[in-house]
Symmetry: C2
Subunit: 261 residues, 2 copies
Protein backbone atom coordinates (compact mmCIF):
# COMPACT_ATOMS: atom_id res chain seq x y z
CA UNK A 1 0.00 0.00 0.00
CA UNK A 2 1.12 3.52 -0.76
CA UNK A 3 -0.47 6.92 -1.22
CA UNK A 4 0.16 7.19 -4.93
CA UNK A 5 -2.84 7.52 -7.21
CA UNK A 6 -3.92 4.28 -8.87
CA UNK A 7 -4.50 4.67 -12.61
CA UNK A 8 -6.19 2.08 -14.84
CA UNK A 9 -5.29 2.24 -18.53
CA UNK A 10 -7.04 0.43 -21.37
CA UNK A 11 -7.83 0.87 -25.06
CA UNK A 12 -9.51 -0.75 -28.05
CA UNK A 13 -6.52 -1.06 -30.40
CA UNK A 14 -5.02 -3.77 -28.21
CA UNK A 15 -2.15 -4.04 -25.78
CA UNK A 16 0.53 -3.92 -28.49
CA UNK A 17 -0.63 -0.66 -30.08
CA UNK A 18 1.72 2.31 -29.99
CA UNK A 19 -0.94 4.62 -28.54
CA UNK A 20 -1.49 2.75 -25.27
CA UNK A 21 2.23 2.25 -24.71
CA UNK A 22 2.97 5.95 -25.17
CA UNK A 23 0.06 6.80 -22.89
CA UNK A 24 1.39 4.52 -20.15
CA UNK A 25 4.87 6.01 -20.51
CA UNK A 26 3.62 9.58 -20.08
CA UNK A 27 1.30 8.80 -17.14
CA UNK A 28 3.93 6.74 -15.33
CA UNK A 29 5.12 9.60 -13.16
CA UNK A 30 1.59 10.36 -11.93
CA UNK A 31 0.92 7.16 -10.01
CA UNK A 32 0.81 3.37 -9.97
CA UNK A 33 -0.37 2.10 -13.32
CA UNK A 34 -2.34 -0.99 -14.16
CA UNK A 35 -2.58 -1.46 -17.91
CA UNK A 36 -5.32 -3.98 -18.71
CA UNK A 37 -6.17 -4.12 -22.39
CA UNK A 38 -7.45 -6.41 -25.14
CA UNK A 39 -4.99 -8.90 -26.65
CA UNK A 40 -5.67 -7.53 -30.13
CA UNK A 41 -7.72 -4.95 -32.05
CA UNK A 42 -11.25 -4.30 -30.75
CA UNK A 43 -12.07 -1.13 -32.67
CA UNK A 44 -15.77 -0.36 -32.98
CA UNK A 45 -16.71 -2.56 -30.02
CA UNK A 46 -18.62 0.27 -28.34
CA UNK A 47 -19.93 -0.79 -24.91
CA UNK A 48 -20.01 -4.48 -25.87
CA UNK A 49 -19.67 -7.12 -23.16
CA UNK A 50 -18.83 -10.79 -23.67
CA UNK A 51 -21.27 -13.41 -22.42
CA UNK A 52 -21.00 -16.22 -24.98
CA UNK A 53 -17.49 -17.35 -24.02
CA UNK A 54 -15.44 -17.03 -20.85
CA UNK A 55 -12.79 -14.36 -20.36
CA UNK A 56 -9.15 -14.99 -19.57
CA UNK A 57 -6.25 -12.65 -18.87
CA UNK A 58 -2.55 -12.90 -18.24
CA UNK A 59 0.16 -10.75 -16.65
CA UNK A 60 2.62 -9.68 -19.35
CA UNK A 61 4.91 -7.41 -17.37
CA UNK A 62 5.41 -6.34 -13.77
CA UNK A 63 7.75 -3.82 -12.26
CA UNK A 64 7.62 -1.16 -9.54
CA UNK A 65 4.52 0.96 -10.15
CA UNK A 66 3.45 -0.85 -13.33
CA UNK A 67 1.54 -4.01 -14.15
CA UNK A 68 0.52 -4.90 -17.69
CA UNK A 69 -2.24 -7.40 -18.50
CA UNK A 70 -3.62 -8.81 -21.73
CA UNK A 71 -7.25 -10.02 -21.97
CA UNK A 72 -9.31 -11.84 -24.59
CA UNK A 73 -12.34 -9.58 -24.11
CA UNK A 74 -13.67 -6.23 -25.24
CA UNK A 75 -12.57 -2.87 -23.81
CA UNK A 76 -15.56 -2.86 -21.42
CA UNK A 77 -14.76 -6.44 -20.37
CA UNK A 78 -11.23 -5.25 -19.57
CA UNK A 79 -12.47 -2.47 -17.29
CA UNK A 80 -14.94 -4.75 -15.53
CA UNK A 81 -12.52 -7.63 -15.09
CA UNK A 82 -9.68 -5.38 -13.87
CA UNK A 83 -11.97 -3.77 -11.29
CA UNK A 84 -13.60 -7.03 -10.22
CA UNK A 85 -10.57 -9.32 -10.12
CA UNK A 86 -7.22 -7.51 -10.34
CA UNK A 87 -7.36 -4.20 -8.50
CA UNK A 88 -7.63 -4.14 -4.72
CA UNK A 89 -9.46 -0.81 -4.78
CA UNK A 90 -11.29 1.44 -7.23
CA UNK A 91 -8.78 3.39 -9.35
CA UNK A 92 -8.49 7.15 -8.96
CA UNK A 93 -8.51 7.57 -12.71
CA UNK A 94 -9.21 5.57 -15.85
CA UNK A 95 -7.63 6.65 -19.12
CA UNK A 96 -8.63 4.84 -22.30
CA UNK A 97 -6.47 5.22 -25.40
CA UNK A 98 -4.66 6.77 -26.95
CA UNK A 99 -6.83 5.67 -29.84
CA UNK A 100 -5.38 5.51 -33.33
CA UNK A 101 -8.08 7.58 -35.05
CA UNK A 102 -10.48 10.32 -33.97
CA UNK A 103 -13.65 9.63 -31.96
CA UNK A 104 -15.60 12.82 -32.43
CA UNK A 105 -19.36 13.29 -33.03
CA UNK A 106 -21.33 10.01 -33.05
CA UNK A 107 -18.09 7.98 -32.93
CA UNK A 108 -18.60 8.14 -29.17
CA UNK A 109 -21.34 5.53 -29.69
CA UNK A 110 -19.23 3.07 -31.72
CA UNK A 111 -15.77 3.46 -30.21
CA UNK A 112 -14.42 0.80 -27.86
CA UNK A 113 -12.09 3.45 -26.45
CA UNK A 114 -15.05 5.54 -25.36
CA UNK A 115 -17.01 2.44 -24.36
CA UNK A 116 -14.27 1.73 -21.81
CA UNK A 117 -14.32 5.32 -20.52
CA UNK A 118 -18.09 5.15 -20.19
CA UNK A 119 -17.79 1.89 -18.27
CA UNK A 120 -15.25 3.41 -15.91
CA UNK A 121 -17.72 6.21 -15.24
CA UNK A 122 -20.58 3.76 -14.60
CA UNK A 123 -18.35 2.02 -12.04
CA UNK A 124 -17.64 5.34 -10.30
CA UNK A 125 -14.13 6.04 -11.63
CA UNK A 126 -13.23 9.49 -13.06
CA UNK A 127 -12.69 8.48 -16.69
CA UNK A 128 -11.26 9.96 -19.88
CA UNK A 129 -11.05 8.64 -23.43
CA UNK A 130 -8.24 10.06 -25.57
CA UNK A 131 -8.04 9.79 -29.36
CA UNK A 132 -5.65 11.10 -31.99
CA UNK A 133 -7.06 11.97 -35.41
CA UNK A 134 -4.56 9.70 -37.17
CA UNK A 135 -5.12 6.00 -37.88
CA UNK A 136 -1.48 5.27 -38.70
CA UNK A 137 0.22 2.53 -36.68
CA UNK A 138 3.24 4.79 -36.25
CA UNK A 139 1.25 7.94 -35.47
CA UNK A 140 2.99 10.59 -33.37
CA UNK A 141 1.37 10.88 -29.95
CA UNK A 142 3.56 13.58 -28.35
CA UNK A 143 0.97 16.34 -28.39
CA UNK A 144 -1.75 13.91 -27.26
CA UNK A 145 0.43 12.80 -24.37
CA UNK A 146 1.16 16.36 -23.30
CA UNK A 147 -2.53 17.29 -23.22
CA UNK A 148 -3.59 13.97 -21.75
CA UNK A 149 -1.06 14.21 -18.95
CA UNK A 150 -2.13 17.74 -18.03
CA UNK A 151 -5.77 16.72 -18.01
CA UNK A 152 -4.99 13.63 -15.93
CA UNK A 153 -3.20 15.74 -13.32
CA UNK A 154 -6.18 18.02 -13.13
CA UNK A 155 -8.74 15.21 -12.85
CA UNK A 156 -6.68 13.42 -10.19
CA UNK A 157 -6.76 16.69 -8.28
CA UNK A 158 -10.38 17.73 -8.77
CA UNK A 159 -12.27 14.61 -9.87
CA UNK A 160 -15.25 14.64 -12.18
CA UNK A 161 -18.98 14.79 -11.42
CA UNK A 162 -20.47 11.30 -10.92
CA UNK A 163 -22.05 10.13 -14.16
CA UNK A 164 -19.86 12.30 -16.41
CA UNK A 165 -16.80 11.18 -18.40
CA UNK A 166 -14.58 13.07 -20.85
CA UNK A 167 -13.97 12.57 -24.56
CA UNK A 168 -10.68 14.21 -25.64
CA UNK A 169 -9.82 14.31 -29.33
CA UNK A 170 -6.55 15.72 -30.62
CA UNK A 171 -5.92 16.79 -34.21
CA UNK A 172 -2.90 15.33 -35.98
CA UNK A 173 -0.68 18.39 -35.60
CA UNK A 174 2.75 18.93 -34.06
CA UNK A 175 1.23 21.79 -32.04
CA UNK A 176 -2.48 22.27 -31.43
CA UNK A 177 -3.81 25.81 -31.09
CA UNK A 178 -5.37 24.98 -27.74
CA UNK A 179 -8.14 22.94 -26.17
CA UNK A 180 -11.82 23.72 -26.57
CA UNK A 181 -14.69 22.48 -24.42
CA UNK A 182 -17.25 21.34 -26.99
CA UNK A 183 -20.55 19.66 -27.57
CA UNK A 184 -20.76 16.44 -29.57
CA UNK A 185 -21.31 17.34 -33.23
CA UNK A 186 -24.47 16.02 -34.84
CA UNK A 187 -23.60 13.59 -37.57
CA UNK A 188 -23.76 10.15 -39.14
CA UNK A 189 -21.65 7.97 -41.39
CA UNK A 190 -22.44 7.80 -45.11
CA UNK A 191 -21.42 5.39 -47.89
CA UNK A 192 -20.82 2.82 -45.20
CA UNK A 193 -20.00 -0.35 -47.17
CA UNK A 194 -17.60 -1.49 -49.82
CA UNK A 195 -19.12 -4.39 -51.71
CA UNK A 196 -16.71 -7.15 -52.59
CA UNK A 197 -16.78 -10.92 -53.16
CA UNK A 198 -15.64 -13.94 -51.24
CA UNK A 199 -13.78 -16.90 -52.78
CA UNK A 200 -17.10 -18.42 -53.88
CA UNK A 201 -18.07 -15.27 -55.77
CA UNK A 202 -20.71 -14.35 -53.19
CA UNK A 203 -21.18 -10.71 -52.17
CA UNK A 204 -19.54 -9.54 -48.95
CA UNK A 205 -19.61 -6.09 -47.36
CA UNK A 206 -16.66 -4.36 -45.72
CA UNK A 207 -17.35 -1.51 -43.32
CA UNK A 208 -16.02 1.79 -44.64
CA UNK A 209 -17.70 5.19 -44.99
CA UNK A 210 -17.06 8.73 -43.91
CA UNK A 211 -18.42 10.88 -41.14
CA UNK A 212 -20.93 13.44 -42.34
CA UNK A 213 -21.62 16.13 -39.76
CA UNK A 214 -24.52 18.53 -39.68
CA UNK A 215 -23.70 22.24 -39.31
CA UNK A 216 -19.99 21.45 -38.98
CA UNK A 217 -19.13 25.13 -38.67
CA UNK A 218 -20.81 25.55 -35.30
CA UNK A 219 -17.88 26.87 -33.27
CA UNK A 220 -18.64 24.82 -30.19
CA UNK A 221 -18.81 21.29 -31.59
CA UNK A 222 -15.98 18.80 -31.57
CA UNK A 223 -15.50 18.25 -35.30
CA UNK A 224 -15.27 21.96 -36.03
CA UNK A 225 -12.80 22.47 -33.18
CA UNK A 226 -10.58 19.72 -34.62
CA UNK A 227 -10.88 21.17 -38.11
CA UNK A 228 -9.74 24.52 -36.73
CA UNK A 229 -6.64 22.99 -35.14
CA UNK A 230 -7.88 22.70 -31.55
CA UNK A 231 -8.15 19.67 -29.33
CA UNK A 232 -11.79 19.05 -28.41
CA UNK A 233 -12.99 18.08 -24.95
CA UNK A 234 -16.60 16.88 -24.67
CA UNK A 235 -18.11 16.04 -21.27
CA UNK A 236 -20.46 13.07 -21.77
CA UNK A 237 -23.32 11.71 -19.67
CA UNK A 238 -24.18 8.16 -18.64
CA UNK A 239 -27.79 9.27 -18.28
CA UNK A 240 -29.20 9.15 -21.81
CA UNK A 241 -32.65 10.41 -20.76
CA UNK A 242 -34.12 13.11 -22.99
CA UNK A 243 -35.66 15.17 -20.18
CA UNK A 244 -36.81 17.84 -22.62
CA UNK A 245 -39.09 15.37 -24.41
CA UNK A 246 -40.50 13.59 -21.35
CA UNK A 247 -43.51 15.82 -20.88
CA UNK A 248 -44.54 15.71 -24.52
CA UNK A 249 -44.13 11.95 -24.51
CA UNK A 250 -46.31 11.81 -21.44
CA UNK A 251 -49.08 13.51 -23.35
CA UNK A 252 -48.63 11.23 -26.33
CA UNK A 253 -48.87 8.11 -24.21
CA UNK A 254 -51.83 9.36 -22.19
CA UNK A 255 -53.92 10.84 -24.94
CA UNK A 256 -53.52 7.60 -26.82
CA UNK A 257 -54.69 5.70 -23.76
CA UNK A 258 -51.86 3.27 -24.25
CA UNK A 259 -51.93 2.63 -20.54
CA UNK A 260 -55.49 1.40 -20.39
CA UNK A 261 -57.48 -1.22 -22.20
Amino acid sequence: MNNKPLILITNDDGIHAKGINELAACLRELGDLVVFAPDGPRSGMSGAITSLFPLTYSLLEEEEGLRVYSCNGTPVDCVKLAVNDVLNRLPDLLVSGINHGGNMSVCVHYSGTLGAAKEGCILGIPSIGISLADYAKEAVFDECCRLGQQLAVRILDEGLPPGTYLNLNVPNLLRVKGMRVCRQAEGRFINEYMRSENADGEPVYWLTGSLHTVSPLHPENDTSALDAGYASLVPCLIDATDYGFMEQLHTLVETNSITTR
Copy 2:
Protein backbone atom coordinates in the same frame (compact mmCIF):
# COMPACT_ATOMS: atom_id res chain seq x y z
CA MET B 1 -44.20 1.08 -54.62
CA ASN B 2 -47.16 1.59 -52.33
CA ASN B 3 -48.21 4.01 -49.61
CA LYS B 4 -47.87 1.62 -46.73
CA PRO B 5 -45.42 2.46 -43.97
CA LEU B 6 -42.08 0.69 -44.25
CA ILE B 7 -40.99 -0.86 -40.95
CA LEU B 8 -37.52 -2.26 -40.25
CA ILE B 9 -37.32 -4.88 -37.51
CA THR B 10 -34.17 -6.21 -35.87
CA ASN B 11 -32.97 -7.56 -32.52
CA ASP B 12 -29.95 -8.92 -30.67
CA ASP B 13 -31.22 -12.39 -29.78
CA GLY B 14 -31.02 -13.46 -33.41
CA ILE B 15 -33.49 -14.12 -36.20
CA HIS B 16 -34.74 -17.38 -34.69
CA ALA B 17 -35.70 -15.93 -31.29
CA LYS B 18 -39.35 -16.01 -30.29
CA GLY B 19 -39.39 -12.29 -29.42
CA ILE B 20 -38.60 -10.99 -32.91
CA ASN B 21 -41.01 -13.38 -34.57
CA GLU B 22 -43.88 -12.35 -32.31
CA LEU B 23 -42.99 -8.71 -32.88
CA ALA B 24 -43.11 -9.14 -36.64
CA ALA B 25 -46.45 -10.93 -36.40
CA CYS B 26 -48.06 -8.14 -34.39
CA LEU B 27 -46.66 -5.29 -36.56
CA ARG B 28 -47.58 -7.04 -39.81
CA GLU B 29 -50.88 -5.19 -40.18
CA LEU B 30 -49.22 -1.78 -39.82
CA GLY B 31 -47.11 -1.79 -42.98
CA ASP B 32 -44.52 -3.52 -45.13
CA LEU B 33 -41.99 -5.26 -42.92
CA VAL B 34 -38.32 -5.93 -43.51
CA VAL B 35 -36.90 -8.13 -40.78
CA PHE B 36 -33.10 -7.97 -40.90
CA ALA B 37 -31.47 -9.55 -37.87
CA PRO B 38 -28.34 -11.38 -36.68
CA ASP B 39 -28.02 -15.08 -37.55
CA GLY B 40 -27.56 -15.93 -33.86
CA PRO B 41 -27.38 -14.41 -30.38
CA ARG B 42 -25.67 -11.00 -30.13
CA SER B 43 -26.71 -10.02 -26.61
CA GLY B 44 -24.56 -7.35 -24.99
CA MET B 45 -23.19 -6.11 -28.32
CA SER B 46 -24.16 -2.52 -27.54
CA GLY B 47 -23.40 -0.22 -30.49
CA ALA B 48 -20.65 -2.49 -31.82
CA ILE B 49 -19.82 -2.45 -35.52
CA THR B 50 -17.83 -5.07 -37.43
CA SER B 51 -14.71 -4.00 -39.27
CA LEU B 52 -12.36 -7.00 -38.92
CA PHE B 53 -14.30 -9.34 -41.20
CA PRO B 54 -16.77 -8.75 -44.04
CA LEU B 55 -20.52 -8.94 -43.58
CA THR B 56 -22.84 -11.23 -45.49
CA TYR B 57 -26.60 -11.62 -45.44
CA SER B 58 -29.20 -13.86 -47.02
CA LEU B 59 -32.94 -13.72 -47.72
CA LEU B 60 -34.69 -16.38 -45.65
CA GLU B 61 -38.31 -15.66 -46.49
CA GLU B 62 -40.30 -13.45 -48.82
CA GLU B 63 -44.02 -12.94 -49.18
CA GLU B 64 -46.38 -10.02 -49.79
CA GLY B 65 -45.45 -7.26 -47.31
CA LEU B 66 -42.71 -9.23 -45.57
CA ARG B 67 -39.05 -9.98 -46.24
CA VAL B 68 -36.84 -11.72 -43.69
CA TYR B 69 -33.03 -11.56 -43.78
CA SER B 70 -30.30 -13.14 -41.70
CA CYS B 71 -26.89 -11.45 -41.28
CA ASN B 72 -23.54 -12.44 -39.73
CA GLY B 73 -23.06 -9.05 -38.04
CA THR B 74 -24.09 -7.20 -34.91
CA PRO B 75 -27.48 -5.50 -34.42
CA VAL B 76 -25.98 -2.16 -35.51
CA ASP B 77 -24.43 -3.81 -38.57
CA CYS B 78 -27.90 -5.14 -39.42
CA VAL B 79 -29.46 -1.67 -39.31
CA LYS B 80 -26.65 -0.12 -41.35
CA LEU B 81 -26.55 -2.89 -43.96
CA ALA B 82 -30.33 -3.00 -44.36
CA VAL B 83 -30.48 0.77 -44.87
CA ASN B 84 -27.42 0.89 -47.15
CA ASP B 85 -28.04 -2.18 -49.29
CA VAL B 86 -31.54 -3.66 -48.95
CA LEU B 87 -34.11 -0.91 -48.49
CA ASN B 88 -34.91 1.45 -51.33
CA ARG B 89 -35.86 4.23 -48.92
CA LEU B 90 -35.45 5.15 -45.26
CA PRO B 91 -37.97 3.22 -43.15
CA ASP B 92 -40.80 5.06 -41.39
CA LEU B 93 -40.09 3.15 -38.20
CA LEU B 94 -37.48 0.86 -36.71
CA VAL B 95 -38.46 -1.53 -33.94
CA SER B 96 -35.75 -3.55 -32.22
CA GLY B 97 -36.71 -6.56 -30.12
CA ILE B 98 -38.63 -7.90 -28.51
CA ASN B 99 -35.65 -8.62 -26.32
CA HIS B 100 -35.67 -11.65 -24.04
CA GLY B 101 -34.70 -9.82 -20.82
CA GLY B 102 -35.12 -6.28 -19.52
CA ASN B 103 -32.97 -3.36 -20.67
CA MET B 104 -33.59 -0.79 -17.99
CA SER B 105 -31.12 1.60 -16.28
CA VAL B 106 -27.55 1.32 -17.64
CA CYS B 107 -28.50 -1.76 -19.71
CA VAL B 108 -29.22 0.79 -22.44
CA HIS B 109 -25.43 1.06 -22.80
CA TYR B 110 -24.75 -2.69 -23.15
CA SER B 111 -27.81 -3.94 -24.99
CA GLY B 112 -27.59 -4.79 -28.67
CA THR B 113 -31.34 -4.26 -28.88
CA LEU B 114 -30.94 -0.66 -27.79
CA GLY B 115 -27.75 -0.28 -29.83
CA ALA B 116 -29.84 -1.00 -32.92
CA ALA B 117 -32.54 1.49 -31.89
CA LYS B 118 -29.86 4.12 -31.28
CA GLU B 119 -28.38 3.43 -34.72
CA GLY B 120 -31.78 3.81 -36.36
CA CYS B 121 -32.09 7.18 -34.63
CA ILE B 122 -28.62 8.26 -35.81
CA LEU B 123 -29.67 7.39 -39.37
CA GLY B 124 -32.82 9.52 -39.02
CA ILE B 125 -35.40 6.76 -38.47
CA PRO B 126 -37.98 7.02 -35.65
CA SER B 127 -36.77 4.10 -33.52
CA ILE B 128 -37.94 2.06 -30.55
CA GLY B 129 -36.29 -0.73 -28.56
CA ILE B 130 -38.66 -3.13 -26.81
CA SER B 131 -37.66 -5.55 -24.04
CA LEU B 132 -39.53 -8.00 -21.84
CA ALA B 133 -38.26 -8.58 -18.31
CA ASP B 134 -38.05 -12.34 -18.86
CA TYR B 135 -35.01 -14.15 -20.28
CA ALA B 136 -36.86 -17.41 -20.98
CA LYS B 137 -36.76 -18.72 -24.55
CA GLU B 138 -40.48 -19.39 -24.38
CA ALA B 139 -41.39 -16.10 -22.67
CA VAL B 140 -44.91 -14.78 -23.25
CA PHE B 141 -44.84 -11.62 -25.36
CA ASP B 142 -48.58 -10.86 -25.64
CA GLU B 143 -48.60 -7.81 -23.38
CA CYS B 144 -45.35 -6.54 -24.95
CA CYS B 145 -46.87 -6.89 -28.40
CA ARG B 146 -50.02 -5.05 -27.40
CA LEU B 147 -48.08 -2.09 -25.99
CA GLY B 148 -45.50 -2.16 -28.76
CA GLN B 149 -48.14 -2.14 -31.46
CA GLN B 150 -49.99 0.81 -29.90
CA LEU B 151 -46.76 2.74 -29.57
CA ALA B 152 -45.77 1.91 -33.14
CA VAL B 153 -49.11 3.22 -34.45
CA ARG B 154 -48.57 6.43 -32.54
CA ILE B 155 -44.98 6.92 -33.71
CA LEU B 156 -45.90 6.19 -37.33
CA ASP B 157 -48.51 8.92 -36.97
CA GLU B 158 -46.54 11.55 -35.05
CA GLY B 159 -42.87 10.66 -35.47
CA LEU B 160 -40.21 11.35 -32.88
CA PRO B 161 -37.89 14.34 -32.44
CA PRO B 162 -34.64 13.94 -34.42
CA GLY B 163 -31.95 12.58 -32.15
CA THR B 164 -34.35 10.88 -29.71
CA TYR B 165 -35.25 7.18 -29.57
CA LEU B 166 -37.44 5.23 -27.16
CA ASN B 167 -36.60 2.45 -24.70
CA LEU B 168 -39.71 0.46 -23.77
CA ASN B 169 -39.43 -2.17 -21.04
CA VAL B 170 -42.34 -4.38 -20.06
CA PRO B 171 -42.57 -6.35 -16.80
CA ASN B 172 -43.28 -10.05 -17.03
CA LEU B 173 -46.96 -9.85 -16.15
CA LEU B 174 -50.10 -10.98 -17.91
CA ARG B 175 -51.47 -7.44 -17.49
CA VAL B 176 -49.33 -4.39 -16.76
CA LYS B 177 -50.85 -1.61 -14.67
CA GLY B 178 -50.07 0.93 -17.37
CA MET B 179 -47.16 2.68 -19.05
CA ARG B 180 -44.99 5.28 -17.34
CA VAL B 181 -42.72 7.82 -18.99
CA CYS B 182 -39.51 7.50 -16.98
CA ARG B 183 -35.93 8.58 -16.64
CA GLN B 184 -33.13 6.01 -16.86
CA ALA B 185 -32.40 4.74 -13.33
CA GLU B 186 -28.89 5.29 -12.01
CA GLY B 187 -27.19 1.98 -11.48
CA ARG B 188 -24.40 -0.46 -12.18
CA PHE B 189 -23.84 -4.19 -12.19
CA ILE B 190 -22.21 -5.85 -9.19
CA ASN B 191 -20.61 -9.27 -8.64
CA GLU B 192 -20.01 -9.40 -12.35
CA TYR B 193 -17.98 -12.58 -12.81
CA MET B 194 -18.21 -16.26 -11.99
CA ARG B 195 -14.73 -17.71 -11.75
CA SER B 196 -14.35 -21.16 -13.25
CA GLU B 197 -11.63 -23.25 -14.93
CA ASN B 198 -10.91 -24.38 -18.46
CA ALA B 199 -9.85 -27.93 -19.37
CA ASP B 200 -6.22 -27.08 -18.53
CA GLY B 201 -7.17 -25.97 -15.03
CA GLU B 202 -6.59 -22.31 -15.85
CA PRO B 203 -8.95 -19.65 -14.46
CA VAL B 204 -11.70 -18.34 -16.74
CA TYR B 205 -14.36 -15.75 -16.01
CA TRP B 206 -18.00 -15.94 -17.06
CA LEU B 207 -20.03 -12.73 -17.15
CA THR B 208 -22.82 -12.77 -14.59
CA GLY B 209 -23.81 -10.21 -11.94
CA SER B 210 -26.92 -8.33 -10.97
CA LEU B 211 -28.11 -4.80 -11.55
CA HIS B 212 -27.74 -2.57 -8.52
CA THR B 213 -29.72 0.65 -8.83
CA VAL B 214 -29.30 3.79 -6.80
CA SER B 215 -32.43 5.29 -5.20
CA PRO B 216 -34.59 2.61 -6.84
CA LEU B 217 -37.72 3.98 -5.21
CA HIS B 218 -37.68 7.22 -7.18
CA PRO B 219 -41.13 7.04 -8.76
CA GLU B 220 -40.04 8.30 -12.15
CA ASN B 221 -37.22 5.91 -13.01
CA ASP B 222 -37.54 2.84 -15.17
CA THR B 223 -36.54 0.14 -12.69
CA SER B 224 -39.00 1.38 -10.06
CA ALA B 225 -41.80 1.58 -12.64
CA LEU B 226 -41.16 -2.04 -13.62
CA ASP B 227 -41.02 -3.12 -10.00
CA ALA B 228 -44.39 -1.48 -9.48
CA GLY B 229 -45.95 -3.39 -12.37
CA TYR B 230 -45.82 -0.67 -15.02
CA ALA B 231 -44.17 -0.70 -18.42
CA SER B 232 -41.44 1.97 -18.57
CA LEU B 233 -40.85 4.26 -21.52
CA VAL B 234 -37.58 6.25 -21.50
CA PRO B 235 -36.85 8.77 -24.25
CA CYS B 236 -33.08 8.61 -24.95
CA LEU B 237 -30.72 11.06 -26.63
CA ILE B 238 -28.00 10.49 -29.23
CA ASP B 239 -26.31 13.64 -27.96
CA ALA B 240 -24.33 12.52 -24.91
CA THR B 241 -23.02 16.02 -24.13
CA ASP B 242 -23.23 17.06 -20.49
CA TYR B 243 -24.24 20.66 -21.12
CA GLY B 244 -24.59 21.33 -17.40
CA PHE B 245 -20.89 20.64 -16.82
CA MET B 246 -19.50 22.47 -19.87
CA GLU B 247 -18.99 25.82 -18.20
CA GLN B 248 -17.26 24.37 -15.15
CA LEU B 249 -15.05 22.29 -17.40
CA HIS B 250 -14.21 25.42 -19.34
CA THR B 251 -12.90 27.01 -16.18
CA LEU B 252 -10.94 23.90 -15.27
CA VAL B 253 -9.23 23.76 -18.63
CA GLU B 254 -8.49 27.48 -18.73
CA THR B 255 -7.29 28.03 -15.20
CA ASN B 256 -4.97 25.12 -15.65
CA SER B 257 -3.59 26.69 -18.83
CA ILE B 258 -3.85 23.37 -20.55
CA THR B 259 -4.26 25.20 -23.79
CA THR B 260 -0.95 27.05 -23.67
CA ARG B 261 2.63 26.04 -23.18
